[in-house]
Symmetry: C2
Subunit: 510 residues, 2 copies
């Protein structure tokens, strides 16, 4: 009640710099599966800071990313809209992609900035750089940016663990070395993986302290490179875990989480800061023991089975959010309206927003306002449209697709490329409360499941009628001129794209 | 320290009825998988009493049952010895089995009884009944027995849910109806599934109160019929869960756990009672949505993959056992020496005891004294011997076998009967800390894995040299005269084997 009153007062006195708007911190892991955290059942993961967050916060059991791969998932996180509407399909941006998140899309950062928030993103953007770097976060409502603007395996790299242990492979040799941007300038190229997480933590914690000092409400989007391939870790975390490279990367991610919580506490803003943790998509099972874990869920990254899109998710705000767990349905696409609601910022009315406000789940212990959830595949297309829909505990698959993101050993053929794309008419129906592993399809020729399919078919029809597919930004292709380079136009390109003296830190060791 | 001092005093004054010997309560679920409890990551299970136990107790991440099926698993629990030594192989006892746990085997109950403990088992025994009921628990050191002496699907049955909902199937029509024994007498036949859990709880809680009143230390072995097929539940738990029949059965199991904790508290013995919870083997995946969940582990009941034998396990003793979780290696076979140690009872020296004392893990937060763990299959044989060995984080499979305990939908061919029995030379090697799902075999032709295989080969050789295979008790076969019948010799057998008026409670509804 105190919060609501303050919010009302805040609106009443019409100040955009109102102190009482809550700070919002979004912690976003990369390729972390539903089963990867100790608080979600992993037997050998260690993550004391996230364990503490889970203990003090609300754990979601049915929280979804908005796509089983990175760029489309992040587009929904930023815009509250499915990738079909924004053109972030099929697949992901490369470092030389000429497309990006269209500038006429409104990000959560842009909306919060209008309301007086200081906004920063630290880490992986992956919504395009583009020619003239027109799609960087600073063009999308973020005051500050520190980070590699895409996956750190989209570049050549050599050192991943202290002091000079090589990475699992060497990355994309033909592309520019991984750049670390500082706003719109490349501060380091190639990125030094042994200090990258510290660089990120320093950027994040400095921002928190600066904002707190200025008494300005802030939005921090902390987009970890961890635990994506290739895993890496600083001196402190190399060989720190019993779970190998993945465990070391997770430990470093967890340390970063701890640094951010420390900063929140030290800055004295813990009473007024909402923190949310989740991940962009399921585990990358082609990476074998380094690829994360979906727990009891089927498949992983790249598929619309649960393992590809259901994610650990923890909401933290002591005194405002009751510790515990919730089975309510929610998704990354819902963070857009939720954050705007918290900040008392109007939700744009000139476009379809797919997200629904999660406040009732978070603050009132009430049911989700979300009636269904839509699963688009990594290779989304207007021709096939929606792949699956969850309605209450039921999930109907209209299409399933295997992908190449599974190792040869992986035993479930349904996840693998060899499964191809299969149309299901009637759809494959599962009860996810009974059968989270989607192993036992229900008999949809008989009651009650035939009726449930009819209900979901109607939802699909109604939803698809709202979708105007935007032109694919990813199909716009790649161009060398769009590749981030500290010395644009240098030769021999792309190897000349380096800063000094950071290259010495990552001297090729192989 | 207080406990140790009391124990020493207790030995010193030479009284077998020493009050200060701790009470021991063993809670043993049936076919409950590693992933079935909320505290082990299941998204939709509810078990408030076990959640509380988990929060206040020590959760094991690497705890094993001693076999992937029931009778051999329980034989090790009772004797501290692998089934090869006791003859409880291959498979399980039927209701008419003439064999049983040999009377020259010493159970933990018999040893504790010698030391002055009151001993009771409530629930599923499954170590034989035999002709003249020579293998009942009362012949093996238990003062009291209340329960069905085998799986409750080894009988014909009709009603499983309130008020008269039929069971998933009808059981074994040619066998005697499920009897509920009271010590050596059949008190109810057929068992009334709608009141069975209450019958069990009443027996268990009465025993606790009686012992507490007499100030006699006690050993209660609470062997739940839940969550084995066919699931059942009383009025209170029918349709109580969002996880269907399995969830209802689990809720009823959890209620029983709560009743036992309540009795421990009400009887004023909570300071001096050690409670341990685990299960006999992994989930029965042939039962589909009713069959439990192995979480991230591979396969389930019937196989020597982790899903068949790794189990949830929680040790509870506030003030003595520190809440938290442990990665130390332990197994049901270790409960025998652990319980005897707690009671200051000598461990038999006239036979090989495979269990090792878990006290260092439980009370001293120290490392396990267990150096390796042996996996025997459900179909164990002297010819093949050991199927797999875990040493530290490594597991070597010498043989793998699929079984019929998987549904047609189940996607992992390695678990299924069609996989047959495969010999692996060199063994299949996995790092369970990195790869709990056993998906990525290590390259054993190169260092360091070739050396690890050599180490495990030596362990195998050394262990197998200690094994003298006992004659199979299960191969002794079945005989109608051994089938438990309230009216022995009646006709038409077995349908005449009923008590009055309990039959009326389970009038056939189909």
């Amino acid at each position: 009640m105190e919060f609501k009153l303050l919010t009302l007062l805040c609106v009443f006195i019409h100040t955009v710099n109102c102190d009482d708007k809550p700070n919002i911190v979004l912690l976003f892991a990369d390729d972390l599966g539903w089963g990867d955290l100790a608080s979600y059942g992993h037997p050998t993961s260690t993550s004391p800071n996230m364990d503490k967050m889970a203990k003090e916060g609300l754990r979601f059991m049915n929280f979804y990313s908005s796509n089983p791969v990175c760029s489309p998932s992040r587009s929904s996180l930023m815009t509250g809209r499915y990738p079909s509407r924004t053109g972030i399909y099929p697949g992901v941006f490369n470092c030389g992609s000429v497309g990006g998140l269209p500038l006429n899309e409104t990000t959560v950062a842009a909306q919060l900035k209008k309301a007086g928030y200081g906004t920063a993103i630290v880490g992986k953007w992956h919504l395009g750089v583009g020619e003239n770097q027109q799609y960087l976060p600073t063009k999308h409502g973020f005051d500050h940016y520190t980070g590699i603007p895409y996956s750190h395996d989209m570049c050549p790299y050599y050192v991943c663990f202290y002091p000079n242990q090589s990475c699992f492979d060497h990355g994309r040799q033909g592309d520019t070395p991984c750049p670390v941007f500082q706003d719109e300038k490349i501060m380091q190229q190639p990125a030094d993986f042994l200090t990258l997480s510290e660089t990120y933590s320093t950027a994040a914690t400095s921002f928190i302290h600066q904002m707190a000092d200025k008494k300005q409400p802030f939005f921090l989007y902390m987009a970890f490179q961890h635990t994506h391939h290739p895993q890496f870790a600083s001196k402190m975390f190399t060989n720190s875990s019993i779970r190998g490279m993945f465990g070391d990367a997770l430990n470093e991610l967890d340390w970063q989480v701890g640094q951010i919580f420390d900063a929140i506490n030290e800055a004295g803003v813990s009473q007024n800061t909402f923190v949310f943790f989740t991940s962009d998509n399921g585990p990358s099972l082609v990476r074998e023991v380094r690829g994360g874990n979906a727990g009891p869920l089927r498949c992983g990254k790249g598929t619309t089975y649960e393992g590809g899109m259901r994610e650990p998710a923890i909401a933290w705000w002591p005194g405002k959010i009751k510790p515990g767990k919730t089975l309510e349905l929610a998704a990354t696409v819902d963070l857009f309206p939720t954050f705007l609601k918290l900040a008392d910022v109007p939700i744009p009315t000139d476009r379809v927003i797919d997200g629904v406000d999660m406040s009732p789940i978070l603050f009132e212990n009430e049911m989700s306002q979300r009636e269904y959830y839509i699963y688009y595949p990594s290779g989304a297309s207007p021709e096939k449209g929606v792949y699956a829909i969850r309605h209450k505990e039921y999930k109907a698959h209209y299409y399933t697709s295997g992908t190449g993101l599974y190792s040869a050993h992986y035993p479930d053929a349904a996840c693998k490329a060899s499964a191809g794309t299969v149309k299901h008419d009637p759809p494959l129906l599962f009860n996810l409360n009974y059968d989270p592993g989607e192993l036992n399809p229900l008999n949809t020729t008989e009651s009650p499941y035939n009726e449930i399919v009819k209900t979901i078919n109607k939802i699909k029809e109604k939803f698809e009628a709202t979708v105007v597919w935007a032109e694919s930004e990813i199909r716009k292709g790649d161009n060398n001129t769009a590749k981030p380079c500290a010395k644009p136009g240098c030769t021999p390109f792309p190897h000349c794209c380096t800063t000094t003296p950071s290259m010495s830190k990552t001297t090729r060791v192989l």
